[in-house]
């Protein structure tokens, strides 16, 4: 009799224990979720789309959208770093995937490893392998990419090119062949804007000069910046600069794009948020109103940058934050966010019908091209390097001395522990 009772009891308890996780899963998340970013203005609606999805799934959570605008993210960084140093992390914050995150936060041991989350959500099979390698370290994966932008794109207006009788150059030598012709017609061959766009142009030119393998070698510390290849990259950049507009430092990047659209310039190398600008704000049709090609010399290479969110250690509401990360990496989330933002999803299975023609072509490239990390946007190098690189660029813009710039880069790389 007692044995039977014991057996029933065991079954009963086992049943209870099995059902507990089920009920726990069904339990609603409550409390706050503080999302920290610098997405305001035009980018606000895209973030809001994600927040709406999250709110639908977790109606009891109070989402605090703590954006900090200004200074191309430096104000946001000031607030974030002040808080993190003071021990008040937000639940999740926007950060460029790659070394910007790793060098600043992962090496300081402030982030939670998200590998279990990636495995649980099946993201290891959905994100391209090259991407996961670049946003993680050998100790884990540290953030969930929300979007992918491409850096090495060259924009032009097809009708204008026809009018001037030139083709989009495939290499920089092609460019140098047609540039004097354009100049003679009073057209600026390559439109450039203020400081950071020079950094942006540099990485495309350097990638073309070095090739993808050497580019990777630079950042893993195997190739030195002041090697002959490194100096050659700066020399090529100096040559390219001769064909840009003199008033570059007074223009915003949109104004440089405008120069191409008005016909005052022929080409502009800019990330594919320019497509978003031309498509959404200027209402141009991709392929007709504007055309694109890989920046000269980088065909078959996809230089990417990714906005991502991570989970800081000590976040006040880690479960709410994990639910947020799940939304970001999900198909529904990324296909709601990216068409509005003007970027593509990191997932290889996104529903391309929601995207415009440029984005469709970018997604196709992302699937087949060699993926390399952008320098100017935080993938390839940490923040210490980036900060000093701007000074090196300013020095170069003034002196046009390739040797000095390459040496300075190497000095900077050693100081910033590139590749270590």
């Amino acid at each position: 009799m007692k044995k039977a009772l014991a057996k029933i009891l065991i079954v009963f308890v086992a049943a209870l224990m099995l059902s507990v996780p089920l009920t726990a899963q069904a339990k609603q998340l409550t409390g706050d979720l503080e999302i920290f970013s610098w997405w305001a203005g035009d980018e606000g609606p895209a973030l809001q789309a994600l927040i709406d999805i999250y709110k639908k799934q977790n109606p009891k959570v109070n989402v605090i959208n703590a954006t900090v605008t200004g200074g191309s993210g430096v104000n946001a960084k000031a607030v974030l770093k002040t808080r993190m140093l003071g021990g008040e992390p937000p639940d999740s914050f926007q950060v460029h995937a790659g070394q910007e995150l790793i060098g600043t936060w992962v090496k300081a041991d402030r982030m939670e490893d998200l590998t279990p989350l990636f495995k649980e959500q099946g993201w290891m099979n959905v994100f391209p392998e090259g991407l996961v390698k670049l946003i993680g370290t050998d100790k884990g994966i540290w953030s969930v990419p929300v979007n992918i932008h491409r850096s090495n794109v060259m924009w032009y207006v097809p009708a204008n090119l026809k009018k001037w009788g030139v083709d989009a150059p495939k290499t920089w030598d092609d460019f140098f062949a047609i540039a004097p012709k354009l100049k003679a017609k009073g057209v600026v061959p390559l439109a450039l804007a203020q400081n950071w766009t020079a950094n942006h142009l540099w990485e495309s030119v350097a990638l073309a000069s070095l090739g993808a393998d050497n580019w990777d070698a630079l950042w893993s510390g195997k190739l030195k910046f002041d090697s002959p290849e490194g100096v050659k990259a700066w020399e090529l950049f100096g040559k390219v600069l001769e064909y840009t507009n003199a008033d570059a430092s007074s223009l915003s990047w949109q104004q440089a794009t405008d120069m191409v659209l008005d016909g005052r310039a022929a080409f502009n190398v800019m990330g594919d948020w320019a497509a978003g600008y031309m498509f959404t704000t200027k209402k141009l049709v991709p392929g007709k109103g504007f055309g694109w090609a890989a920046s000269p010399g980088t065909g078959g290479e996809f230089m990417f940058l990714a906005d991502s969110f991570g989970l800081p250690k000590g976040a006040p509401h880690p479960d709410n934050a994990k639910a947020w990360l799940k939304v970001l990496g999900s198909k529904e989330g990324s296909d709601a966010f990216n068409p509005i933002k003007g970027s593509i999803s990191a997932r290889t299975d996104s529903d391309l019908s929601k995207y415009n023609d440029y984005l469709k072509s970018a997604a196709a490239d992302f699937g087949k091209d060699r993926v390399v990390g952008s320098l100017a946007h935080g993938v390839a190098a940490n923040e210490t390097f980036m900060g000093g690189f701007s000074s090196v660029m300013e020095m170069f813009l003034k002196s046009k001395n390739a040797e000095n710039a390459a040496k300075a880069c190497q000095q900077l790389a050693t100081k910033s522990k590139i590749g270590m």
Binding site: G71, A108, Q194, S249
Partner: protein, 372 residues
């Protein structure tokens, strides 16, 4: 007498809370910043819960002044000198000029006074944005002449890369000595009329000796930098200076106006009777009487020149090298590059430069108290 000492105690106790607060919040924090500036806190791992900080002495300072990558800082420092001088000259000069005009008691003085004073009330975001528009090369001030039928101006304002008064940082020491001797000679000439012996002994003599010494032996001075580095007065800063003078000359105007009002009418009439012209009255009577105001204005304005961070940030953003300022540099170095120790070093240099304005004031105070 018991009451007197009890009152003294009460006085001390009243002051105590402020002393404690300032002690902690100002001096404690300055101390911590000085300490941080002498460590190597920065780079990777800087934001850990217990970041690694090793004492490195004055290395950060040496690198700022002689390092390869400190070139931006050095230009910002040169900019800061120009900003401060131009702000002082501009705000004091313009303020004094407007005050003299308003002292003539024109009709509508109240309205005019408000017009000149209101810019102070604006937040820098407004001021910065509006002036950025006003100085945009393709719009704003440059196209004003078109409304009266003239050609538009083509000055690049904030995006200008031109610079005048250029010098090579390598020659820094000789330049500084030249400037010092120039100032001493000027002061000497100024005092020559009153007190020729002192003038020659204290100012002219040493000034000429230093100047001649640099001229003859300048080559022996060590080079301040291992490579050539040009610095100068960036024309881009003109726009920022204009905006700052616009915002703060109202304050100096109010100071001088108050001062002029305080000079009794009798004194003014007496000066007129003695045959002084309007201009002479101001030059020889009113303005010298208001020397304390000028001193106050200089102190307040140097306090404000620190606030230029906000204005520059709003007008040209953090990334425009031409208009940089050490405060901006410090902000970026700390919060963008994660170099907390280097940022602290820049901050301390900035603090010392700003505090330099107070030392002459203090010396003057002590001497005055000694005499009076």
């Amino acid at each position: 007498m018991q009451e007197a000492s009890r009152d003294r105690l009460k006085a001390f106790l009243t002051l105590l809370p402020s002393v404690v607060l300032i002690g902690v919040f100002v001096y404690g924090f300055i101390g911590e910043t000085v300490w941080t500036s002498m460590t190597d806190w920065g780079g990777m791992g800087a934001l850990a819960f217990e970041p690694e900080k090793n004492f490195v002495g004055l290395d950060n300072y040496v690198e700022l002044f002689t390092g390869f990558l400190g070139g931006g800082f050095r230009q910002d420092l040169v900019n800061a000198v120009y900003y401060s001088i131009m702000l002082l000259v501009g705000a004091v000069g313009l303020g004094m000029f407007i005050a003299i005009l308003l002292d003539q008691k024109p009709k509508g003085e109240d309205v005019l006074r408000t017009i000149f004073l209101y810019p102070m009330s604006l937040s820098f975001i407004v001021t910065g944005t509006i002036w950025r528009w006003l100085l945009a090369p393709q719009g704003g001030v440059n196209i004003l002449p078109t409304y009266v039928g003239m050609e538009p101006m083509t000055f690049d304002w904030l995006s200008s890369t031109a610079a005048i008064l250029e010098f090579n940082w390598q020659n820094l020491f000789s330049i500084l000595l030249y400037v010092a001797s120039f100032i001493m000679i000027m002061v000497g000439l100024w005092i020559l009329k009153h007190d020729s012996r002192r003038a020659i002994k204290r100012w002219l003599g040493p000034g000429i000796i230093i100047g001649a010494g640099v001229w003859l032996f300048g080559g022996l001075l060590p080079e301040a930098l291992f490579m050539e580095e040009t610095h100068g007065f960036n024309m881009a800063t003109l726009g920022i200076i204009m905006a700052t003078v616009w915002q703060y000359s109202g304050y100096t105007m109010a100071l001088y106006l108050a001062g002029f009002n305080g000079i009794s009418q009798d004194l003014r009439d007496a000066a007129m009777l003695d045959g002084a012209s309007e201009f002479g009255y101001y030059r020889y009577v009113a303005i010298p009487m208001l020397k304390p105001i000028t001193i106050s204005a200089v102190i307040i304005l140097s306090h404000i020149s620190l606030k230029m961070f906000d204005l520059i940030f709003a007008m040209t953003g953090p990334d425009n090298a031409e208009t940089g300022h050490p405060a901006l540099n410090m902000y970026l170095t700390t919060f963008r590059s994660n170099e907390f120790a280097k940022g602290a070093a820049i901050a301390i240099v900035l603090f010392l430069v700003a505090a330099m304005f107070i030392v002459p004031y203090l010396i003057g105070q002590y001497r005055q108290r000694g005499r009076g």
